[in-house]
């Protein structure tokens, strides 16, 4: 295990060091001390590192992550793991808005609550939220899975494409073109896999599935009222 201290080297020093490591480095486990809510910690990582961040982080922690496994032992600010390509980002606390935004792959786990726009424009990422999510989550979600073990705020899945949404609790309202859908066996398997990966105890049978009605896929004036 190696340590890097934000107080000593700053965010620039952290990113410079972690991104400077060769892909096949033996120094795989890193602990970041004193993150102090700073922004852009551990962004753009591209090596299979294990990074533990001991404290709260600001915006974009784990942004564009590829291959690395980050654990944030605290709360996270806006855009956690935005545009993640692969790997894992795990928030032990809560995460602010736009968590996992535009993510292409990998797994984002938020043990606590996520704020609004969780999974906005998601493109293949898997997101598991232990608590609640705010309004407009999975807005224009294209691909991937958003699992919500608590409640969802207003306009869930607005203008959604092909992302899969699973909610255990209440949904305040569904967004344009988002509907409840049948939970088939392949969805139960998919959800089981995601809950297991996120170390959750909930059962797939407790969830309902939501997705696209596909009525807005090609513009029709008859559907203009949906907006």
């Amino acid at each position: 295990m190696n340590e890097l201290d934000v107080k000593t080297v700053g965010v620039r020093g952290i990113n410079l060091h972690l991104n400077g490591l060769p892909k096949n480095t033996n120094e795989k486990h890193w602990v970041i001390k004193n993150p102090m809510g700073q922004h852009s910690i551990a962004v753009g990582l591209s090596a299979p590192l294990q990074v533990d961040i001991n404290g709260h982080v600001g915006f974009y922690c784990g942004g564009m992550n590829a291959h690395a496994e980050l654990t944030i032992h605290g709360h996270a600010g806006v855009g956690t793991a935005e545009n993640m390509m692969s790997g894992v980002v795990w928030v032990k606390g809560n995460s602010s808005e736009s968590a996992g935004a535009t993510g292409n792959g990998g797994l984002l786990v938020i043990d606590g609550d996520a704020s609004s726009r969780c999974g906005i424009s998601m493109k293949g990422i898997d997101i598991v939220v232990g608590g609640n999510v705010g309004h407009m989550s999975a807005f224009m979600g294209q691909r991937g899975n958003l699992v919500i073990c608590g409640d969802a705020g207003d306009a869930l899945g607005d203008s959604i494409y092909e992302a899969h949404l699973y909610v255990k609790g209440k949904v305040a309202s569904l967004g344009a073109d988002c509907i409840e859908k049948e939970m088939r066996s392949e969805h139960i398997s998919e959800l089981e896999r995601l809950l297991k990966a996120a170390k959750r105890r909930e059962k797939p049978a407790e969830f309902r599935r939501y997705g696209s009605a596909r009525k807005l896929y090609n513009f029709s004036v008859d559907h203009a009222d949906a907006y």
């Binding site: 965010v11 620039r12 990113n15 410079l16 991104n19 922004h39 852009s40 962004v43 753009g44 591209s46 600001g58 915006f59 974009y60 942004g63 564009m64 590829a66 806006v78 855009g79 935005e82 545009n83 390509m85 808005e97 736009s98 935004a101 535009t102 292409n104 726009r117 906005i120 424009s121 493109k123 293949g124 807005f139 224009m140 294209q142 691909r143 203008s159 494409y161 092909e162 807005l216 896929y217 090609n218 513009f219 004036v221």
Partner: protein, 441 residues
């Protein structure tokens, strides 16, 4: 009894033929009109300005013997690796998806021969484009279609797109007929569906957040790449000031004549300001912040020739960008395809249904049979020829005004032909020393 002479049939200036046809079209379809390109209405523009030239009070440079520099360096504020262009004319962002792969390749080839940059668009970076563009600017858009850190690092500069002149405040639209297998795969969307691009970025709101976003992009790219911020011509004074505050290296300002792949006609013609009206407020913002020439300003929207380039530079711009003109240089709207334009219900020079993917010239299409009509090598050569002509024209004007570098052109070299242009450009009305808004009236 003598017959009363009839008056001639008189059409309304308000309800002209185009307006009547649009009312009929709307009544028939129930859908607003969508088209490509920029504003087509008559607007105050660079044609309303003239250069004064040199005589006794200014000393000209010899046209063919004395050097007149044209290079421009972009990204000198924060980037470790600013980019240097040989000419002050860049190629604007246009997406693979709206354009064919051949067209993107041709833009890269032409720009590279001319020593300038080209720019990706909404939909990501193609292999053809990167391979044939020596200097490639990578657009970072609200949709983030095709966005990935590898391409970000492969780029020479990053352009955060906040708006564009044809539709400031609007998102993008690529209709299903252009979503081919390849386009769909790059954008992570099903084939054949209408692709909507959001009008706001998904993970930041406002200038304070933008500053943090810029910082993230710099961290990911090791502070090497110049970061551009592209804005539409909405509120240029405030938007430029905020872009500078957020940490931009370069501001790209696109007036309402700037083109789009597809947007509502009503948006294109009725939202945003003309390019000419945007420049002086933008330059004033930079000057008041002490950032003029430190944060470079690129202006686009209706640039057609070296005179337009020279006039933009004289008003304080560092470089211009061309989109529509570049497509025309490749072969867009060429009379060679007139019979096919007629079959589409239009004529060469007026074709703007770029979103339908039926472009006879093979440029704004994903139809492989149409796309292969465009030879990327020949089209690239045409573009480089055009860029060279524009550069020579710019130099001609600069020398005539006694400038050894095109950046030495200044507002004092200009006069305006109309009161409107004088007010917008803040140069005197021709034959007077009057600048509207200055000197008391």
């Amino acid at each position: 009894m003598e017959k009363t002479p009839p008056t001639l049939p008189r059409k309304s200036a308000t309800f002209d033929d185009y307006t009547l046809s649009e009312i009929r079209r709307a009544a028939s379809t129930g859908i607003y009109d969508i088209r490509g390109g920029g504003a087509k209405r008559k607007l105050p523009h660079f044609d309303d300005l003239l250069f004064l030239g040199a005589s006794i009070s200014r000393y000209p440079l010899e046209g063919y013997r004395e050097k007149c520099g044209t290079n421009v360096v972009l990204g000198t504020r924060f980037a470790k690796k600013p980019i240097e262009l040989k000419i002050p004319i860049t190629i604007a962002g246009m997406s693979f998806g709206s354009l064919s792969a051949q067209a993107k390749e041709a833009l890269g080839r032409g720009a590279t021969i001319a020593g300038t940059s080209t720019t990706t668009g909404d939909g990501g970076m193609t292999v053809e484009e990167r391979g044939h563009s020596e200097i490639l600017v990578y657009q970072y858009l609200p949709s983030r279609y095709g966005m990935n850190p590898d391409d970000l690092r492969r780029a020479d500069a990053i352009e955060i797109v906040i708006g564009q002149g044809a539709k400031p405040g609007g998102g993008g639209m690529l209709l299903g007929q252009k979503i081919s297998d390849r386009v769909a795969a790059m954008r992570c969307l099903p084939k054949g569906i209408d692709q909507r691009s959001a009008c706001r970025h998904p993970d930041w709101t406002g200038p304070d957040d933008l500053e943090i976003k810029i910082n993230e992009l710099r961290e990911i790219t090791n502070w090497e790449k110049p970061i551009y911020i592209k804005i539409g011509g909405a509120r240029p004074y405030y938007d430029v000031a905020l872009a500078v505050k957020a940490g931009a290296d370069v501001v790209v300002l696109d007036g309402m004549q700037g083109g789009t792949a597809a947007t509502q006609e009503v948006f294109i013609e009725h939202v945003g300001q003309p390019t000419l009206a945007c420049i002086r407020p933008a330059v004033r913002a930079l000057q008041e912040l002490g950032m003029h020439r430190k944060v470079q300003l690129i202006v686009s929207g209706g640039i057609r020739n070296g005179a337009d380039v020279a006039k933009a530079l004289a008003l304080g711009v560092d470089a211009v960008s061309i989109g529509t003109a570049a497509l025309v240089a490749l072969g867009d709207n060429d009379p060679h395809w007139e019979s096919e334009y007629n079959a589409l219900g239009t004529t060469a020079g007026a074709y703007d249904d770029w979103h339908e993917g039926k472009d006879p010239a093979g440029i704004t299409t994903q139809n492989p049979d149409l796309a292969k009509r465009l030879d990327p090598v020949l089209a690239g050569k045409r573009l480089s020829n055009y860029l060279k002509v524009m550069t020579l024209e710019t130099q001609t004007i600069a020398r005539a005004n006694g400038k050894s570098h095109v950046h030495n052109l200044e507002p004092e070299d200009l006069c305006a032909l109309t009161v409107e242009a004088a007010a917008m450009a803040q140069v005197p009305l021709a034959g007077t020393s009057w600048i509207p808004g200055k000197g008391g009236y």
